[in-house]
């Protein structure tokens, strides 16, 4: 237990160092803040455009689709704010930073993750939350306390899932020099899943995004459950935390194997 506390404390300290590093470039930081404000303005415009542009798809109304899109954005932003470095393991290895992580008595995973904080990503979280709110309102969803709890579970699980998938793709670097091919396949899949309910695609795609690269758990299954859609059985939606847990365990195993297999950058 003491060890866990220590590691969490170190993660916070590392994030502080990272923030401090960002603040060292003061002008840069203020520019970013200004751009965040501008982005937020643009986001409001974006929401109206999105809701105006979205058309009903089969039994999915505009409100449903906005919820779908919003859920995706929130989950994705969890990755992009805190875990972006996980998709850059290759760069860390090539630059030699990874060697340095292995020289300090703190989890190399936390050092990797703690080395970056993408505060601009908060924009996406806010936009996503706004989209979900507008979407639920438009869809006239009936919400109880259970729905709110499940919403939280879906976000946490979805966040975990996206982080794990990006992480696993990045871990390929430990074994081969090229991870980019897999990464672009993944990008293609999530671009599809972002805006459209999975049911409009064929069965094979549904199996792919449910069981193999379970990105449907970022937005589709949560939306189905929260909006009471008939597209999938409730139990399948409620598997979300289980899927997240399985992926997290798989990630931990792959990470351990990767470290053992790690062969630095020569020299």
């Amino acid at each position: 237990m003491g060890e866990v506390r220590f590691q969490v404390k170190m993660y916070v300290s590392l994030l502080k160092m990272t923030m401090k590093g960002i603040l060292e470039y003061r002008a840069d930081f203020w520019m970013s803040l200004v751009s965040v404000a501008l982005l937020n303005g643009a986001n409001i415009v974006q929401i109206s455009v999105i809701s105006w542009r979205f058309h009903a798809l089969g039994n999915w109304g505009v409100g449903d689709l906005l919820t779908l899109y919003g859920m995706f954005m929130i989950c994705w932003s969890i990755f992009s704010i805190f875990f972006r470095k996980l998709s850059k393991i290759e760069d860390e290895i090539v630059s030699g930073s990874f060697d340095i992580y292995l020289l300090r008595p703190v989890s190399p995973f936390l050092q990797l993750v703690g080395g970056d904080i993408n505060y601009v990503g908060v924009c996406d979280t806010m936009l996503g939350a706004a989209l979900v709110a507008v979407g639920l309102y438009m869809a006239e969803a009936q919400w109880g306390i259970g729905h709110i709890l499940w919403f939280a579970v879906f976000i946490l699980s979805g966040g975990t899932i996206v982080v794990c998938i990006r992480f696993l793709i990045s871990c390929v670097t430990f074994w081969t020099t090229r991870g980019s091919a897999l990464s672009s396949v993944f990008t293609q899949i999530y671009l599809l899943i972002q805006k459209y309910p999975v049911t409009i695609f064929g069965r094979a795609f549904r199996v792919l995004v449910t069981g193999i690269v379970p990105v449907a758990y970022l937005n589709f299954y949560p939306a189905v459950y929260l909006l009471g859609k008939p597209d999938a059985p409730a139990w399948l939606c409620m598997l979300s935390p289980v899927v997240a847990l399985v992926l997290a365990c798989l990630s931990a195993i792959v990470w351990k194997g990767g470290l053992r297999h790690y062969h630095s950058c020569g020299g």
């Binding site: 160092m17 060697d99 292995l102 020289l103 300090r104 008595p105 081969t176 090229r178 091919a181 020569g266």
Partner: protein, 327 residues
Amino acid sequence: MISVKKLTKTYRIAQPQEGRFAALRSLVRPQYAIRRAVDGIDFDIQDGEAVGYIGQNGAGKSTTIKMLSGILTPDSGSIEVNGLTPHIERKAHLQNIGVVFGQKTSLWWDVPVIDSLRILKEMYRIEDGRFKRNLEMFCGLLDLEPFLGQPVRQLSLGQRVRADLAAALMHDPHVLFLDEPTIGVDVVAKERLREFILKINQERKVTVLLTTHDVVDMEKLVDRVIVINAGSILYDGRLQGLRERYGRERRMELAFEGEPPEISLPGVQAKKQKDGKVTVTFAQGQYAVDEILFHIRQGGVSIRDITIQNADIEQIVRDIYQEGGKA
């Protein structure tokens, strides 16, 4: 105490493939080139020793250091550092060692040096008193004070290495691994680094293993060297012994008043240079310098200038590198 037995590390280097779907194929059926970076080496280092680990680029020095510090997992063989196996008991092991790579910093690039030292204090769980004592000591010995508040990216190379050395020693490790600590540093800064390393080794009894290409580093800092070539150990012993074993050849350069004479002594080679000087090469121990000079002067020529090239380590190392250890 460091004990290394039959240590081997092979790199499988994924070969980039060409043609259609190259990226995909390299994932599914990667092709590898195999390179033995370290090929069954053995050595022991006693507590408090200072050992130079030398060899050409790519000889396996850094790979060894990385295995000793727990970054890399060996293919086979065993390593023990103070009774711990680095890649298995990683965290405990790291409390015992300090590592400095001359080529890259282990400090946080964008924040002041002191902040890096403070977060290391947390990471290594260094008590306040000890941290303060060490900080004061290193500030004094390495003159860190003037740039303690500056971000690492603004430091000169010499300052950066000094800061890195302090960072590697804050937690009082018993063993210090230095991978080319003086590379690229100017002469004055080098001298200061050497003094510091020597002091740490002699006064604090820290075991030092250092890789370097700098001969002066070796002469000033270590009394034992391990020479590695193509993954195998060529020589392990006193620096002086290296000189005796490999430094068999001596060389001197002579400039004459007027025409250079013929030198005919058995075992002595004389080669005329373009500028009129003559390079004389002879085996160590066969002649004394005086004998050769006497022989030349008997011919009635007067010598204007003599440069005697010592059988210096630099020459020896160069010979070893060039011959790949056939000597």
